[in-house]
């Protein structure tokens, strides 16, 4: 538990960034899908570019973890679900104005009705787990 406690701190920083940059705003998400501001594209694009450069440096310099382990990066595999599930996810994203990170952040920020969306998302995963083997993958 103690060794995991640092992740609570990292999560708090992430949540605060999401709040301060208004990424968790329903209005910002509608604005993004209407292409009426660069803001959200800048946030996501800025994160991707920074992440990309970081991963490149880690690979090139063969940087290890602080415990001296080899860093393992496992790419996700393609299934039909990536497309079908992706579109479903996108609809939910525009409906609630939030993806999973912001759902947690909004509930933390006291937007209690968003808790309905978070509980529904957990239920959605549960339903997926039940019907998973019947779906095209």
């Amino acid at each position: 538990m103690m060794k995991n406690l640092k992740y609570l701190l990292f999560g708090t920083i992430f949540g605060l960034i999401l709040y301060k940059a208004e990424v968790i705003s329903w209005f910002r998400i509608q604005e993004m899908f209407h292409f009426q501001s660069f803001h959200m594209y800048g946030v996501i694009g800025g994160a991707v570019v920074t992440g990309m450069i970081s991963v490149m440096i880690i690979k090139k310099k063969n940087i290890k973890t602080i415990d001296g382990e080899e860093i393992k990066i496992v790419p996700k595999k393609f299934t039909k679900g990536v497309m079908i599930g992706g579109v479903m996810f996108g609809i939910g994203w525009a409906f609630t104005g939030a993806c999973p990170g912001p759902l947690y952040a909004l509930v933390g920020a006291g937007y209690w009705s968003i808790g309905i969306a978070l509980l529904s998302a957990i239920l959605g995963v549960y339903l997926y787990g039940i019907v998973k083997n019947k779906l095209p993958h």
Binding site: I17, Q36, G81, G86, G90, C99, G101, A117
Partner: protein, 185 residues
């Protein structure tokens, strides 16, 4: 510093800071950045394990459950100590588009016309419950969300994550331009 903490952060501050979480998580604990798998962990930890999908040792994901608890704490910190000025400065075009959907109040982070307790009606529930179900089901079917695919996946140059991100946007555009006006109109 106080000035900085009481103002909204521009994209060129927030974007790179979020991106730095990727090497931070990798170097500190060899962990991939991604939020939505915690929804599965919560199922595995709290609900009956009806299928194999939930039969795994979710305790190994304690780190990520703490991470998302932190996200909620970050939201709490933001909304109390480091509050942003409101209403958010969204574009006037977006405002007039949303006005047409009956949204008048732009205070706060979610439209109180839809999501304040006293205003919750049928269409609000469609958005919250329907949207939540689609997020949960969709993100596990697609094996990732905005963080795991659009940020981490694209950062490691995985084409699968590009496909997922395009899917997210097709769904979002469909909902924002066509389905939302149908529900709220």
């Amino acid at each position: 510093m106080i000035e900085f903490l009481s103002q909204p952060w521009p994209w060129y501050v927030a974007g790179p800071l979020i991106g730095l979480l990727i090497p931070l998580l990798l170097i500190v604990g060899n962990k991939p950045f991604g939020v939505s798998s915690t929804l599965r962990d919560i199922c595995a930890a709290t609900l009956p394990k009806v299928t194999d999908y939930f039969k795994y040792n979710w305790k190994e994901k304690t780190w990520n459950l703490l991470f998302v608890t932190g996200i909620a704490l970050g939201g709490l910190l933001g909304s109390t100590v480091f509050k942003n000025p409101e209403p958010i400065a969204i574009s006037t075009e977006t405002k007039s588009d949303l006005n047409q959907l009956g949204i008048q109040n732009f205070e706060g982070y979610v439209p109180s016309d839809l999501f304040a307790w006293e205003n919750i009606g049928f269409s609000s529930l469609v958005l919250l419950i329907g949207g939540g179900l689609l997020i949960g089901f969709g993100t596990r079917y697609a094996d990732g969300c905005t963080s795991g695919h659009s940020i981490f996946g694209l950062s490691i140059l995985n084409w699968v994550s590009l496909v997922a991100t395009i899917g997210f946007f097709i769904g979002g555009l469909l909902a924002s331009w066509i389905i939302l006006p149908l529900i709220l109109g």
